[in-house]
């Protein structure tokens, strides 16, 4: 396939897609229809990234719960379809690591979901290539954490992972999918923005930087806090990327402000309304949900609790109970009265819980992000 033609076509389709999806999301939120969901098939991963918020080893997982079987995911998906789920994100961990991925994915692909796949691409092989040729995900997000084996060793503890990722990207770029490359920058790869973006440009012009590095959640024990950049350093990278695309001005798509790496929720302010639970300023628990590898339903993957149990109580009951669990949640008074609570602060209950372990404590890290954002905004305006 002609690469330039493919990219142009992908962007046009993606723009049309975004437009339609938002309108539908608004309808769904008003009616409390679970339009968008995430199936986090596993917390296992072939990489061991320093900054990962979710990765667990097999023994860690066994202490917490159990991976749900293919049969269970497929049965739950049937319930989700009936309840109105259209957009489904398949993520992990690394979902391709599951031996039964093909079984689960094929079944989901035949059900009528619009599927997005998150993967690090390093496990792509002929079998998965054939699978995605036959059943292409509508969109595929590939993480790229560096521009050399050395960087992959430092960030992901896998020097060989770099070449594997590039091979995977090669394969995925010839699949009929909207391909996006995403990167997270920490101390070890912070100087590689240009190189990473340059690699991404070979395969797609959809390149995004994950803005925040979250502390590990739900039992994960990675070292995000010690390797993440300061808000100022992160903002430098975001600004540099923004400037790059501004200068390029060729219609390339850069989403430089991904609030969460796996964010499934748009801000309800985009639609001009706010629905309960009021503390969630997004569509989580309103038209979006996340189901963890061990079967907990949450408004988004950054939460640890409270949750419902769709595999045990049934999808619809779990979905209907979910908002009620967050009705009494509120941000700390200091946050709601803060001058940056006008949207410049990225605070939300999920972010706060991942940073502090509760909804009641203020996070210095989040405060610093808010101050930095406000400062940059002011500078840009001058």
């Amino acid at each position: 396939m002609n690469a330039a033609k493919s990219i142009e076509s992908n962007n046009r389709l993606a723009e049309a897609w975004d437009k339609t999806e938002k309108t539908l999301a608004a309808h769904a939120a008003y009616s409390h229809v679970p339009l968008g969901g995430t199936f986090e098939l596993t917390a296992r991963c072939n990489f061991n990234c320093k900054m990962c918020y979710v990765r667990l080893s097999k023994s860690q997982m066994e202490r917490i719960g159990r991976e749900r079987t293919a049969e269970e995911w497929i049965a739950l998906a049937r319930e989700a379809i009936k309840a109105g789920t259209l957009n489904l994100l398949i993520t992990g961990g690394e979902p391709l690591l599951r031996d039964d991925f093909e079984e689960i994915y094929s079944a989901l692909a035949e059900m009528g979901f619009i599927i997005t796949l998150n993967t690090n691409a390093a496990l792509m092989n002929k079998r998965f290539y054939d699978l995605f040729k036959k059943y292409p995900p509508t969109a595929t997000n590939v993480t790229l954490y560096g521009a050399s084996p050395n960087t992959y060793e430092k960030v992901c503890s896998s020097a060989g992972g770099f070449e594997k990722t590039i091979e995977g990207l090669e394969m995925l770029s010839s699949i009929s999918t909207v391909l996006e490359v995403r990167s997270t920058f920490i101390r070890d790869n912070m100087n590689e923005l240009d190189k990473v973006r340059s690699i991404a440009d070979r395969y797609t012009n959809r390149f995004a930087i994950n803005t925040f590095v979250y502390k590990p959640v739900r039992g994960a024990e990675t070292g995000a806090e010690s390797c993440r950049l300061t808000p100022s350093e992160t903002q430098d990278l975001i600004d540099a990327n923004y400037d790059y695309y501004q200068k390029l001005n060729d219609g390339s798509v850069s989403d430089t402000d991904k609030e969460t790496p796996e964010c499934v929720a748009d801000d309800t302010r985009d639609f001009g309304f706010s629905l309960p639970p009021k503390a969630l300023g997004c569509l989580g628990a309103k038209s979006m949900y996340w189901i963890t590898w061990d079967g907990k339903m949450l408004p988004c993957g950054m939460f640890s609790s409270p949750y419902t149990l769709p595999f045990e109580e049934g999808f619809v009951k779990a979905w209907n109970r979910l908002p009620g669990l967050f009705m009494d949640v509120s941000l700390p008074k200091k946050c709601t009265e803060c001058e940056y609570s006008d949207g410049r602060c990225p605070n939300c209950p999920a972010f706060l819980q991942s940073e502090t372990g509760s909804f009641d404590s203020v996070s210095d890290y989040i405060c610093e992000i808010a101050r930095e954002r406000a400062l940059r905004k002011k500078t840009r305006q001058c």
Partner: protein, 88 residues
């Protein structure tokens, strides 16, 4: 003419949406939303039928003039051909 295999008409949050399933994702990206008439025509096209038969069914279902029905049908068929979902 009929709708090709591999498309699902789903009603979600009061909206009729055409979703490609399985291999059809290759040919069809994004979403096609249908209004009430469009949804009715789509369902009629789940089986092989003719233009005149479709027109008759629309006139039977809706209290509209022949001219309006023809216009609606032509509009639908034009969009369906453009999206590649129609088998003729």
């Amino acid at each position: 003419m009929k709708i090709k295999e591999g498309y699902l008409l789903r009603e979600i949050a009061g909206t009729h949406i055409v979703v490609p399933i399985g291999e059809r994702v290759i040919d069809f990206k994004g979403l096609m939303t249908l209004n009430g008439t469009g949804s009715f025509i789509w369902k009629c096209l789940s089986e092989d039928t003719s233009y005149d038969a479709l027109l008759a069914r629309i006139l039977d279902e809706y209290e509209v003039s022949g001219e309006t029905a023809r216009k609606d049908l032509d509009e639908f068929l034009g969009a369906a051909r453009e999206s590649g979902v129609l088998q003729e």
